[in-house]
Amino acid sequence: MADIVIRIAASNGDGVESSGSLLSKIAARSGLNAYYSRGYQSVIRGGHVWSQVRISDAQIYSQGDGIDILVALNQDAIDNQSGQLNSGAFVIYDTSKANADVLKGKGYKLVGMPLIELAVENAGDPIARNVVSIGALLKILGLDIKVFEKILSEMFLRKGQAVVDNNVKAANAGYNFAGIEKAYELKGDGKARYIINGNTALAIGAYASGCKFYAAYPMTPASTIMNWFAANENRGVVFKQTEDEIAAINMTIGAATAGVRAMCGTSGGGFSLMVEGLGLAGMTETPIVVVESQRTGPSTGLPTKTEQGDMLFVMHASQGEFPRIVVAPRSVDEAFYVAADAFNLAERYQCPVIILMDLFLSESSRTVDSFDFSKVKVDRGKIATAAGSERFKRYEITPDGVSPRSIPGTQGLEFIAASDEHDEYGDLVSDVLAGLEVSVETRRKMHEKRMRKVDTMLKNENVFVPHVDTEGADYYLVCFGSTTGAALEAAERLRAAGKKVGVISFNYLMPMDKEKTKMLLAGKKLIDVECNYTGQLAYLLAANAGIDIEHKILRYDGEPITAAYITEKANEIMLKW
């Protein structure tokens, strides 16, 4: 088994992002598994940025640890990244921009390459230095350069055959550079895979389930959802860039009221502005989907760094009480299915569904073998289509709490939705009637009707329970959302080292099936793993399932949690417990 972490580092604007995506695409096409993540800053030029690509012939769930091959395109890259190098690592550096003297005599394989010169010489353009360096990487990794040549010809076809030829030459110059030698034997299974990031998988999952409207105001790390909808407007969807996030959620509510599956997305700051709208969807029982991709807070925080600090916030945001569903996909491919499912849940229970992402999951790409479209089923819930003889009761009190809704344009089923408390017709009980005996009763019944939907979803859906990956382990890592990947790998390593460790992971977090969750967690030795300071999942479990998790592995420095980080801390905990 080969499992290699490659990091390409330079300054912003040097094209490390395209290098990362190219390299991961080559791996995916070669039938290998890849995980591609980025480290960057909130500047457009300058700064220090990197692309990290982990490639393996085995299944992988996270970004990997340390660096096996570093491509340093400037001196900063050497200086900032050398602390992460695994023993015996390769370091390829651009001799015109950096020297690797500080790394000499430490057992690293240092290869200086005149990348810019080679680029100019072969492709007539210094920009091709990324192509040269990828050529070199392919040689080290033992990968077929033909796959890269094909991708280059697809990429540059529009610019003419000459440009294609030049880039192919540049790639081969890197591949054949003296001093670059094959060090790994990566063998793909011949099946080309998708390589896709969490936000794009989410966007396409939403599209697959018939989401036709997306509204957003730009905010990292949610913006790539917006980019997908904007680029794909010609597929029969509408993307609306709004003046602010308040407009985004309210437009989404308008579109959903009019009968279209609609979604908006943002990060914590924008979600803060959406909060009042969330309550409007709750009160008017409008099915909407809201994506919140977390970044490091509070306030503007670290805009390009990850965290899981908003879970309790999105669960409790808004005045008053109303049913909502909160789901945190655990992986890129799960983001696809969760997005598709979110619209069914929203329409079935006529409430907001929040998809809780984070920067790491939103922006990391991973290989996916296939997407199973047969899992995408559309259920639009209770919709009234024919008028009865009586006035339509949009908010009819029903045993399951869900009242049939009508779509504007349908004759005889007109109603006015209200943010004020209302009766079964939608007429207000908030003004002249407020406090009168009859409206006190109406308020109570309407509130109970809405809240009853929580019982109904818990009864009818089987998703509101955690996932246990191994039975009978001595310890369990407990986590939610994107942290799951690293936790699964950490548990695997710990098991390989003879410790019986499993993972209990949550995706559908709210509502929680308290009984089943309690049953699954009770009596086990639990270690909470989260990317925040306070242990929000642990707090949630204490409140909902009466489970107190004493031991926690928490990370809140902006960097995604890794398997190595968890393994080390878990070992410390288990040693004493």
Binding site: A192, I204, A247, M251, I407, G409, I416, S419
Partner: protein, 285 residues
């Protein structure tokens, strides 16, 4: 067609909003649009209770947010006639950002602002259109802020139909609303609609002395003249307040320009097949 609901208005006796209600009812009745394709959207305020008086579709939404809700409805289904009924605080205060952007987008929405120069529902605070010196519960020493000129704001933001009515003349107001609904694009109708309970300055009498109808000599296609007329109250120290159609022009609506909605209502576009989804995923392989 009967557009009234069984809900009775809860406005104070004499409130200007009665006149606006009558005008909107008349406009709809004259246009005879199928009421199942009409959506009336409001925010929060005395004036925003308006949708409940109608038997159409609609939403009584959040304070300041009827325009985004209405925009979402229009983008989802461009067959709907979407009307916003709101107050001056709702439209020109908390929701002012949306006004600018809906105007520049030219979304086909007719917006009727019941401008009583006061926050009625919250019992009489100053609003963005309260005049300098106005004594209200929140400005007991007199308002010191320059009022917003909603018509000038809408004109400069790109609104394609800009009018002002007076609830004391519901027939005239109905005409402005009717033409606003017929107008393709964003129509702002600022309705002078006195709050008889909290606004002791801008009363019916006060308006009757100052309001006059724009004459046949006013050319609503002339943007410069429209701005000039919009500024007349300020220019005359609030001695002369013109009402009528200030400006109307033709410009494609957002719905007509958007690559998807230009082909027809979004709600009618087909759901993607699994082949369509596969195509969307193809470039990630």
């Amino acid at each position: 067609m009967n557009y009234s609901s069984s809900v009775k208005p809860v406005f104070c006796p004499g409130c200007g909003d009665f006149g606006v209600h009558a005008a909107l009812l008349r406009a709809l009745t004259e246009l005879n649009i199928d009421k199942s394709s009409v959506a009336i959207v409001s925010g929060i305020g005395c004036s925003s209770s308006m949708p409940h008086l109608f038997s159409t579709y609609g939403m009584h939404s959040l304070h300041g947010r009827p325009l985004p809700v209405a925009t979402g409805m229009r983008l989802a289904n461009s067959k709907l006639t979407v009307i916003v009924t709101t107050g001056d605080g709702d439209a020109y205060g908390i929701g002012s950002a949306h006004l600018l952007h809906v105007a520049r987008r030219n979304v086909d929405i007719t917006m009727i602002v019941m401008n009583n120069q006061i926050y009625g529902l919250t019992t009489g605070q100053a609003s963005p259109t309260s005049l300098i010196g106005a004594k209200t519960v929140s400005t007991p020493f007199g308002d010191i802020e320059e009022p917003i000129n909603p018509l000038a704001v809408a004109l400069s933001a790109g609104a394609t139909y800009v009018a002002r009515g007076f609830s004391g003349d519901p027939m005239h107001a109905a005409e402005l609303i009717k033409n606003g609904i017929l107008h393709k694009g964003f129509a702002l109708i600022d309705m002078l609609s006195p709050c008889v309970t909290f606004n002791t300055l801008n009363t019916y009498d006060w308006f009757r002395k100052r309001v006059y109808k724009l004459g046949a000599d006013h050319d609503p296609s002339n943007f410069g003249k429209a701005i000039e007329k919009a500024m007349e109250p300020e220019a005359t120290g609030w001695e002369k307040i013109p009402i009528g159609l200030f400006y109307q022009t033709k410009r494609p609506t957002y719905e007509e320009l958007d690559v998807t909605t230009k082909n027809g209502p979004l709600i009618e576009t087909p759901m993607p097949s699994s082949g369509d989804v596969e195509k969307a995923l193809e470039i990630y392989k």
